[in-house]
């Protein structure tokens, strides 16, 4: 039980991941799905960066002098998360563009209604 208490970052991230995943899967509204997707991605970024954090060390920025290797936290996860953020942004932008196109065609953003409209012959 104490594992959960000590690294509370990771538990927070996992809970957030669960929330994001649920919204993405369960909600019928496309916008809510995209929001859920973003929550999920941020949760993963939190989990990753929390892995890199070492208590009592400061950020890996050299202000004026290099204070030796062990005085900084592990920079790799935060560097990776840069790319992760970019990927999340692009996917969200693409999904939003799609929602707008769907809205123009179907006048609704509700995915179930759209999928059920398979019957009428689309051109």
């Amino acid at each position: 039980m104490d594992i959960i208490l000590t690294n509370y970052f990771e538990t927070g991230a996992v809970i957030l991941f669960g929330v994001g995943f649920a919204t993405l899967m369960l909600h019928r509204n496309l916008i809510k799905k995209i929001i859920g997707m973003n929550i999920m991605d941020t949760a993963i970024f939190l989990f990753f960066i929390a892995k890199g954090y070492i208590k009592g060390k400061d950020a890996p920025i050299i202000i004026n002098s290099f204070k030796g290797v062990d005085s900084y936290i592990n920079p790799i996860p935060s560097a990776l998360m840069l790319t992760g953020i970019v990927v999340a942004v692009t996917t969200t932008a693409f999904a939003l563009a799609l929602t707008i196109k769907l809205y123009n065609h179907y006048q609704t953003v509700d995915l179930e209604v759209i999928l059920r409209m398979r019957g009428e012959n689309n051109d």
Binding site: I62, L82, A97
Partner: protein, 138 residues
């Protein structure tokens, strides 16, 4: 018409400042936090503000869609060539740009030009996405 006079005046002062700050962030990306992505977003937002304040035609005259596209693809090509060169250079012992002394701007070998290229790309892409969403011709 005159209701947005305040906006125009303030815009005249602020937009150059924002763009300057964006360029600053890109340039010493390898020294202080920031770099290509964040600097590019700052530049992109400055374009968006200009679009909002002065209307779409002014921005289109300076940064037409074609010019933006050419900007993106050329900086991307530049980026790929440099990156490819740096990947292969270790194997074939090609000359490396000087690493330069620590802390100065021209110091981190390839990283500076790469940052600039990335900055331009991100700025242009940001503006294009915004303009597409605004004009709804998705």
């Amino acid at each position: 018409m005159n209701k947005d006079i305040i906006l125009k005046e303030v815009g005249k002062i602020i937009i150059p400042l924002v763009q300057l700050f964006g360029i600053y962030v890109i340039i010493n990306g390898h020294l202080s936090p920031g770099g290509g992505f964040s600097g590019g977003t700052v530049l992109g937002t400055s374009l968006i503000i200009m679009h909002l304040i002065y209307g779409e035609d002014l921005v289109r005259s300076i940064y037409s869609r074609k010019k933006l596209l050419v900007g993106i693809s050329s900086s991307l090509i530049f980026y790929t060539i440099i990156k490819g060169y740096s990947f292969l250079s270790y194997e074939l012992e090609l000359p490396h740009p000087p690493l330069g002394n620590f802390g100065s701007i021209l110091s981190a070998g390839f990283i500076l030009p790469l940052n600039i290229a990335v900055g331009i790309v991100v700025a242009c892409v940001f503006y294009i996405i915004f303009s597409i969403f605004i004009k709804d011709e998705v």
